[in-house]
Every structure is written in structure tokens, then in C-alpha cells.
């Protein structure tokens, strides 16, 4: 496990208290897990993703991440319909560890309520929350 100072948290997106990131791309929100989450989880060996078309409310479990030592749920940070899932992860689940903010994205959602996105934590708030946990 790395120290907080060694982890990366880009400023171009929001974060949830459950360690997902959400990035606005046009009218869609792309979701993945933070550098902190992937580091604490360890090597991801399997990603269970939702069906495209499935609808979720903010905070719902939309999939699971399985590492060599644990299984964690993926909680959707905004309500909406899944419009795409990262099929690359079926063959290469390790992308979640290697490149959590880009190639390791998990689902793309068409949000129902833009206010939910605005209500997520920004980078500094998220880092502050992590510091509080240490």
C-alpha cells in the first residue's frame, strides 16, 4: 500500500465517499475507482459489470471488483442508465490498477439528475476525507 502523498487524484473529475470517480464527458458521466481504492484493493482479477441499459439510483451496487484478497462492490455515484461498460476489463481486469483514471474506466452512465454530479466531492474534499481516514 502506498502513502497518500504517492497517490494521484486528478482535478478534472468528482469523487464519491465510496471511492468511485465520476467524470463528465458531454452529457454522459464516466465512472471508475480512485487510485486510493485500487491501491487498497490490490491486484484486480475480475470485474463484474452491469448490463448496458440497466438503470440505477445513486448509491446502488452496479457491479463488483474482485481482487486476489477481497471482493468489493462498485456503487454508482449518480442515478441513471448504463450506456456503456468497459469490455476491455473482461480480458484485462488489471487495467483498473494500472490506469484507474483512463483505460481502467468501468461504466458510462447517462445521468438522470445533473445536480447529483455537482453534489459529489471535488478533488480537495476527497483528499481531505482520505486524510481524515488515515
Amino acid at each position: 500500500m502506498k502513502e497518500l502523498s504517492e497517490l494521484v487524484f486528478p482535478n478534472d473529475r468528482k469523487y464519491s465517499q465510496e471511492h468511485e470517480w465520476a467524470k463528465l464527458e458531454g452529457d454522459k458521466v464516466v465512472v471508475g475507482i480512485s487510485d486510493f481504492a485500487q491501491d487498497r484493493l490490490g491486484s484486480v482479477v475480475f470485474v463484474e459489470m452491469p448490463q448496458v441499459g440497466a438503470k440505477f439510483s445513486k448509491g446502488d451496487e452496479c457491479g463488483t471488483l474482485e481482487s486476489t484478497k477481497a471482493v468489493s462492490e462498485i456503487f454508482i455515484p449518480v442515478s441513471g442508465e448504463v450506456v456503456a461498460v468497459n469490455t476491455e476489463l473482461e480480458q484485462s481486469p488489471g487495467l483498473v490498477n494500472e490506469d484507474p483514471y483512463s483505460a481502467g474506466w468501468i461504466v458510462e452512465v447517462k445521468p438522470e439528475n445533473p445536480a447529483e454530479f455537482d453534489g459529489l466531492l471535488n478533488r480537495d474534499q476527497y483528499v481531505e476525507m482520505l486524510q481524515g481516514m488515515e
Partner: protein
Amino acid sequence: MRYLPHTDDEIREMLEVVGNRDLDELFAGVPEGCRRKEALRLPGPLTEWELNEHMAALAREPAVSPDYQVYLGAGSYEHHIPESVSYLLGRSEFSTSYTPYQPEVSQGTLQAIYEYQSLMCRLLGMEVANASLYDGASALAEAVLMAIRITGKGTVALSNAINPSYRQVVRTYLSPTGYAVKELPYLQDGRTDMTSVQGVTDLAAVVLQSPNFFGCVEELQQGAQAAHSEGALFVTAFSEPLAYGLFKNPGGQDADIVCGEGQSFGMPRSFGGPGLGILAGRMAHVRNLPGRLVGLTKDLDGKRGFVLTLATREQHIRREKATSNICTNNSLCALNAAMYLASVGGTGLRELALLNRDKCEYLKRELTAAGFPVTFSGPTFNEFVCELPSAVHRRLLQKKIVAGLPLGRYYPELEGHSLICVTEVRTRAQMDTLIKELRS
């Protein structure tokens, strides 16, 4: 370790700590009707020789082989157990070992489980089998829950021709969940009416047993089509796996999950237990498969090794979200089955299955000729239903013949019918005696 019940002093001391005056006060939370008022009335102690005689007298009471000719099957089958199996299984390396909790140091145990899993996959035509479960009934309940998890739907259609005890266990498992069970009726030929599956909403699984409780071989391919056209998984169960030494296996007929009882493979009947729960599926669903799973891998030096794999499905890691919290690996029984299949061999299994089928066909023919017609026209393996009034059943019992299982208790409409089983151990002479008694 000595086992001594608590002394009065200890009880007093403990009551003081928890702050109760006496035991009645301590147990006040237990409903009145569940508490015993007076002391247990147990018989006095016996000498060792008196105890031996007592046990022998108890053992003489039930109507069992070899004193009786037993035509009972119905989920527990009298098969010959090769001496090699009894000898090997009795070795302390096997009979005293427990499922390893530091698994990788127990390569022998893991290899034995791996061999068992591989044999089950071959027998059933499936891609992956777990390390075993308790018995056929709990394996079916787990298969049904697995289908519910995979499909995300909440209704399961169970054939009415599935062993009634298995269906009861499924209902027990599902009773606190809110999932629904729909029963599919059986037809005049003793097989399941697949048209009744049509239009059932929210269907997670269609479940058939083959050979079914009446001994009839189901049309599995049709069952698979019916299930899949409703967007459900096709689950097949069995209580007599020996049938797959002869008949086309469920995997070859598009079953998604296969489950059943393995007692036939070298396990004595022993009042109905212990059994062996067999559960097999497709690799696409492996993460939803409950129970332990042994895999084959290579170590750092490139040498072959066995490991417990995909353990994140299991309760010690996934806790309340595990694929099952009511399962264990029935390791010794699984090893028993692997030893049995290795002793019998592929060709032997087929020959043995043929012998069961042929002997059963002989008795069907002779019973029909004697005026006790076979009830269902569907093809059978080593069990069938025939008309046999209960008075005849009782008369034969006096002659030390247990003429199958009267079905009225399970199916009121089949009062006066019996489920008869004939395995390889029944001789032609015995069957001729049965017919002679029936004609007299």
C-alpha cells in the same frame, strides 16, 4: 477428552455471574411449551455384552439386505461396492483428514478433489464441477439459488416428478426469500409436461430430474429449449448418476447447471446417509458456483500443483455476500466416488449401467405378465412404477420382500402404485421368487 456435565457448584457459580436465581429464571426466555418439566427418564446402565446384544437387536429390526430382498430405490440405491474402494477409503490418511484450511500444503487432498471434479465433468458433460456439497437435495437448492443469482429473476419451475424430498428442501431454502416456486405437472407417460412452462413470468430456472422420481428418463433437450425460450436457465437433477453411464449426459443436452446425489458411487445406504452433493455448471457462470473449487496450476519452477481457486466466492472472504453460507465440501464422500469410478472404469460403468437397465426391464416384463402393469410408458433406467395394491405389499413383507416404495404418501393419485428399483445386485432367481409370490 473427558466429557462431564456441570456440577451443581459450577451451575451455582455461573448463575451468580449472570445474575439469575435458578435455571428456571435463566431459561425464562424459552417458550413454556418448549421446556421439559420433569427429568429425562433414561434406562439404567448396561454391561458391554448387554449393550452389544441391545444394539444387535435394534439392527435386526429394519427390513434390510441381505435378510430381505429390497426393491427400494427412490434416491438411495443398493449397488455393489468393490472391495478396493472400502479398503482404500478406510486408510487413515483419507478417513481422518479434514478439508484443509492451509490447503496448498495438502497436495494429495487437493489432487483427489481435482480428480473427483474432473470425473464429474466427464460424466455429466459439464465444464466445471465443485468439490461437492452435502447431498442431492441441498445441491438442487444451491443450483436453484445459483440460477436466481445469474438471471436476476425470482420464479423457479420445478417438475412434480422431482424427488419429493428434494422439492421440500428447495422450498425450505426459498421460504424466507420471497422467491416463488411453480410446480410442473407430469404427463401420462410419467414425464414432465413442458408446455406448462410457457408464459411463466420472471422465470429464473426450469428444473427437471432425469431419471425422474418415477424412474422415467426425461426429454432433456426439449426441457432446455423450453427453459431457454423463456429466458430461463435449464437445471437438471438426478438421484441415480449411474444412469449417465448409459444415457446421453445433461451437458450434451444443453443443461446450464447439473446437480444431484452421488451415493450410488460406492457409498453404503446407512439409513440414508451420508450422501454426496454433486454440482456442475458452465465456466461462464463459475463465479456464481457455490462451494470449494480446486484448480490445476504451475509453481515458480514450472511444476504441476493444485490450489483452491476462485475463493472470493466463498463465505470466509465474501461473508454475507458469498455464493452460499450453507455448504461444505463432503470430501471423504467425494473421494469415495472418485475411487469408485476409478475402480469401475469407463467401460465398466457402461456395462454396469446396462446390467441395471436390463435387469429392470426383465422385472417390468414379468410383472406386467403377472398382472401388475407398469404405470408409465416413458423409458426407464433401474426404477419404474407399477400397480401394486398395498395389501400385496404387506403380504410380501411377511415373506421378507420389500416390494418397492408405495407412492400414495407422496402422490395421493398414485395410491396402490409402488416405485420398484432393480440394481445389478438383484438376481434373476430373486426376481422370479418375487413373481412367484405375487402369482400365489
